[in-house]
């Protein structure tokens, strides 16, 4: 459904991604792992339109989306939960969710969508009139995911949802990811927490210095000698 062919991108004169080939099928959960600075965030940014690809093609259900502005790509069905959550700190929880439903197709259904995400995350309902900056780290992550779901994306991109959270909360975040999968969403998720990631995805890519070094099913990745020594510490 989402397909990248020979995608390169970067910042200024600095090239951060080199000829990336990647695909995500409908209903699948796919992971991206790699060390700091590998280009994982850049990869999600180029898909969601925050930065433009230098070359290559990105298609969603056969439609070329590469190089379109971010606001059109959301409307086309890709939502991105950015690194570090990036809630609007001085908007309330509910306002953060409402802004996630800014796209035209979502506005008319604001009530239904709110009811749906509150059902998914009852904690957010309790805190709906609170400023986002007053939420705990785990609640903020919930809110960031819920905000992205408000546009009812066909594919959800998540950038290190467990980063910076206490171990117990990290487990909750992965349960959340699992729930979202059960709701039928397709997800592409970047994580440093590789053990837990491989439990919730079907396939994963290993990105190093802007290139895909390895790709395979979760089981293959877990058993791969290189991944085991370099990333799982075994």
């Amino acid at each position: 459904m989402l397909e990248l062919k020979k995608v390169s991108a970067g910042y200024g004169a600095f090239k951060a991604l080199f000829d990336i080939d990647m695909s995500v099928q409908a209903g699948e959960a796919v992971g991206v792992i790699g060390p700091n600075g590998a280009g994982k965030t850049t990869l999600l940014r180029v898909i969601s339109g925050l930065i433009r690809p230098w070359s290559g093609t990105i298609t969603l259900n056969g439609q070329e989306i590469g190089g379109k502005p971010a606001y059109e790509i959301v409307a086309a069905g890709i939502a991105h939960v950015p690194e570090n959550r990036r809630l609007f700190p001085r908007l309330t929880v509910e306002e953060n969710l409402k802004i996630g439903a800014f796209v035209h197709s979502a506005r008319g259904q604001l009530r239904e969508r709110l009811a749906w995400v509150y059902d998914l995350f009852p904690r957010l309902k309790e805190r709906r009139n609170q400023l986002a900056e007053t939420l705990s780290g785990g609640e903020q992550q919930m809110c960031a995911i819920a905000r992205a779901l408000m546009s009812r994306p066909t594919i959800l991109l998540m950038d290190e949802p467990s980063a910076g959270l206490a171990p117990v909360i990290v487990d909750q975040v992965f349960e959340l990811v699992q729930r979202i999968r059960e709701e039928g969403f397709t997800v592409l998720i970047v994580e440093q927490n590789i053990q837990s990631l491989l439990d919730v995805v079907e396939r994963a890519y290993l990105l190093e210095v802007g290139t895909i070094k390895l790709a395979g099913t979760a089981a293959e990745m877990r058993e791969h000698p290189f991944v085991r020594t370099a990333y799982l510490g075994m």
Binding site: S48, P69, L91, A148
Partner: protein, 284 residues
């Protein structure tokens, strides 16, 4: 309390209304787009001349002239954004400052060319209201009421509409705004148009109180700037309250010291307060 002091204080609060409009307009643009419109109060001058032309020149009814002038300055606000600011949005702040500074000189010179430096006025002077021995300026009372209504409308817009929400969100994190499905260019355009509308409205209210000349923006610009900084740059509520605090300082010092020195007193108070609260009086 002595009635003259009370009178000065009431007129001070009333004066604050128009300053509040302009302070909010400038603060909104600064907070959302992160640019400094040096020429902001020159839009007020343009609006005042527009009313002068439409009312005194073409003989349109005053209310109609005012409505057209507001619409005109609203469009002008959007044009300033799209023609001057948008192309240099990613340039260093100093370039943006120079560009809007250039606009200031352009508008002042252009007005001088068209209208000369003669003082003009539309010849409408509202009577003063007499209230228990005090004289209250009706023009200022009207300005105060209209300004409060406008600020309330703006508040409702920012609080309850999608674009209002988008505008508030951008001021908090502009980099991810596209991920919410928001076209940043539109949000900036709308913000600039609102800034223009507030300047246009201020023009309608000021034209009843002051003569028009090409440099009239200079008489309001510094105060409006001071209000913005005083309340914390980009802080709408802070700017709103500051407008009243500063006009009250002007009014009271005008009463106790002298009207000629009242603005100087306000600036002196400003400098002293900035020394202790460099990020505005409402900063923590």
């Amino acid at each position: 309390m002595d009635t003259f002091l009370l009178e000065a204080m009431i007129n001070g609060i009333l004066l604050g209304g128009v300053f509040a409009l302009l302070t909010i307009g400038l603060n909104l643009i600064f907070g959302v787009i992160d640019v400094v419109w040096i020429a902001y109060t020159e839009l007020v001058m343009v609006g005042m001349y527009a009313i002068y032309c439409l009312y005194s020149g073409l003989g349109l009814p005053l209310l109609v002239a005012c409505l057209i002038a507001v619409a005109f300055v609203t469009v002008l606000g959007a044009l300033v954004h799209f023609l001057i600011i948008a192309p240099i949005l990613d340039s260093p702040p100093i370039n943006q400052l120079l560009a809007t500074g250039g606009l200031l000189f352009f508008l002042q010179s252009f007005a001088t060319l068209l209208f000369t430096t003669d003082f003009r006025n539309i010849g409408v002077r509202l009577p003063s209201l007499q209230l228990g021995g005090m004289f209250i300026s009706t023009a200022r009372l009207l300005a105060f009421i209209v300004a409060l209504i406008a600020v309330t409308c703006l508040y409702l817009f920012l609080k309850y509409t999608y674009w209002g929400l988008a505008i508030r969100a951008i001021a908090q994190d502009r980099h991810i705004i596209g991920l919410m499905g928001i076209d940043q260019r539109w949000a900036y355009g709308i913000t600039s148009a609102i800034g223009g509308a507030l300047a246009g409205l201020a023009a309608c209210l000021l034209v009843l109180q002051y003569d028009i000349q090409p440099f009239i923006g200079n008489s309001f610009g510094p105060i409006v700037w001071m209000n913005c900084v005083f309340g914390g740059l980009g802080n709408l509520v802070g700017g709103f309250l500051s407008a009243f605090i500063v006009s009250e300082i002007i009014a009271i010092s005008g009463y106790y010291i002298s009207t000629d020195l009242s603005y100087a007193c306000a600036f002196a108070a400003f400098i002293v307060i900035m020394f202790f609260k460099p990020r505005g009086i409402f900063s923590k």
